[in-house]
Amino acid sequence: MRRKTILFCIFVSTALPFLPLLLWSISEKWFYPALFPQVFGTRAWTYVFTTSGNQILDGLFTSFSLALVTTTVSLILGIPAGRALGLYDFPGKKITMLFLTLPIIVPPLSVSMGLHLWFIKLGLAETFIGVVLIHLTFCLPYTIFVIRGVFTDYNPDFEEQARSLGASPAKVIVMVIFPMIIPGVIIAALFSFLLSWSQYLSTLIIGGGKMLTLPILLFSLMGSGDRPVAGAVSLIFILPAFLALMSSAHYLGRTGLKGIR
């Protein structure tokens, strides 16, 4: 009974915030004292998917490409680094881990501010690459952490066993290492993608208004007061997180959420 209560509380408290967004997006009229919209309608969704909503589709594209590139780079650099941190002991490992946590816990606002001038000097401000780089400052450490977690549970003896069973070093990578770490890699990719996807301040500071990502559009929609459209865009904005979460539920369950706990 006590556990069911806990379960119920958790469920309600997590689902609650998303209900109003849905309600907003299908409302035509919703004023202060009412608990639910007075008039329902599809204006907001029509707006988002018609030509006048081009800006939103562009934002979707910008956000998506930013997140994709950031994630790819994070994985390329993060997998070898995470493997080294997870499998081997070496002097300075502890201090490395400590420094890696820094960008995760220090707010992106400060990091972005700090790097802004240097980015201007290097011609990176207001560019796609610049924004990718600023996103990498937190996506990469996060990826390294998750991959490191994968490799602390990883037994390199599997590789030797495969060698003795006749697998060449190349085949060991493709047929042993890769399938062994793929659940962790998917989680790392997921988080890296969503971290980049949901950036607001850092994109604004380094992108200088040139990179109109979905969160930036969303915030300006908030300011303009068109809440139904903001609600609809907000749902689009949440969609990949939700999709990714559901599709990776299998892996999340399997690894016991080791990567992100």
């Binding site: 003896d157 030797e160 060698r163 003795s164 069973l165 006749g166 399938p179 062994m180």
Partner: protein, 345 residues
């Protein structure tokens, strides 16, 4: 066909040699065990033979062909690790087929081979199971099958029984022996458990302090140890200095000092279960001449055998006898049968 020859193998860990000048040759179809205490470097030897480690010096020959330069995947020897190390993303049959896939053997040919091994190892019913659905003993069987299916000249087994509990150990032991009879595979297996080595193998190689101390049939190592260390390893603490009457009848004995004898004696050993306790009634001069009076100072009932500690002239002798009929303080006469006395070479 499976011949293995190691010539003057030295293996370093970092720069410290841990295996020195090891030579050994194994014939076709033999089961040889490499016995030694934990941390003696037994696994290191297997890994070196398998090609996962490089020896500092010495030669490895498989079927009379030197293989030092060959990488692990090209050596005709498969090492089965102590842990099953089954790939969690493959099912039982796929795990067994992994090595065949690496050799480009697929389709019906692979299926036939896998089917045959599944039968031998009694895993046919489990072939579609996922790894995490298997018990520890089943996993160990799959690991064995995964090596056997490749029909290697040499199968190297690293403590194949150590992760199993008593009854599974017995089953697995019998399985290895059955499989060996059916396939005729040459096997070198590593263990730290003397009873395992004695029971399962044609020959035993005892590894102490990085060197092979004795190689031979189980009974040879057990009853004719080459050195006091070998005797002690097999649980025999009766290492003494003795003089005999020329017919191996011990006339006097004393303690050794660092395994050496002063005052003319020669070091010998006698297994605790070989020492006879004479009934008090036999007191003829012949009996008195060939036996020693002592006092029981310790009795431990261990089940099949009872361990007695008997003090003879301030020397403690361990005797294993059957039923626990002796009491502490009791006087007994010990006899050391001459065919059981072993003088160290």
């Amino acid at each position: 066909m499976g011949y293995l020859e190691l010539q003057n193998l030295t293996i370093n860990y970092g720069k410290t040699p841990i295996i020195r000048d090891l030579s050994l040759s194994i014939s076709n179809g033999e089961i040889v065990s490499l016995l030694g205490p934990s941390g003696a470097g037994k696994t290191t030897i297997l890994k070196t033979i398998a090609g996962l480690l490089q020896p500092a010096s010495g030669k490895i020959l498989i079927n009379n062909i030197p293989v030092n330069h060959l990488p692990a995947e090209k050596r005709d020897a498969v090492l089965i690790f102590q842990k099953p190390l089954l790939f969690p993303f493959l099912n039982v049959a796929q795990n067994i087929g992994f090595g065949l896939k690496m050799q480009q053997i697929t389709g019906i040919k692979a299926e036939k081979k896998i089917g045959k091994i599944l039968e031998i190892t009694e895993l046919t019913d489990l072939q579609n199971r996922k790894i995490h659905q298997l018990s520890g003993g089943q996993q160990q069987r799959v690991a064995l099958a995964r090596g056997l299916v490749l029909e290697p000249s040499i199968l190297l087994l690293d403590e194949p029984l150590s992760n199993l509990d008593a009854s599974l150990r017995q089953q697995m032991r019998e399985l290895i022996q059955t499989v060996q009879k059916q396939t005729g595979t040459t096997m070198l297996f590593v263990t730290h458990d003397q009873s395992e080595a004695l029971t399962i193998s044609d020959r035993v190689c005892l590894l102490l302090d990085g060197r092979l101390r004795q190689v031979g049939k189980p009974e040879e190592l057990f009853y004719l140890p080459a050195a006091p260390e070998v005797a002690r390893f097999f649980g025999c603490n009766n290492i003494l200095c003795g003089t005999d009457d020329g017919k191996k009848n011990i006339t006097t004995f004393s303690n050794t000092h660092l395994n050496r004898c002063s005052n003319g004696g020669k070091p010998f050993t006698i297994r605790p279960e070989d020492i006879e306790i004479l009934s008090a009634s036999r007191t003829g001069p012949e009996v008195l001449h060939q036996s020693f009076e002592g006092r029981v100072i310790g009795v431990t009932f261990e089940g099949q055998l009872t361990r007695l500690t008997i003090e003879v002239k301030k020397i403690q002798i361990t005797v294993l006898c059957g039923r626990p009929t002796y009491r502490i303080g009791q006087s007994v006469r010990l006899k050391m049968p001459k065919n059981c006395v072993h003088f160290f070479p």
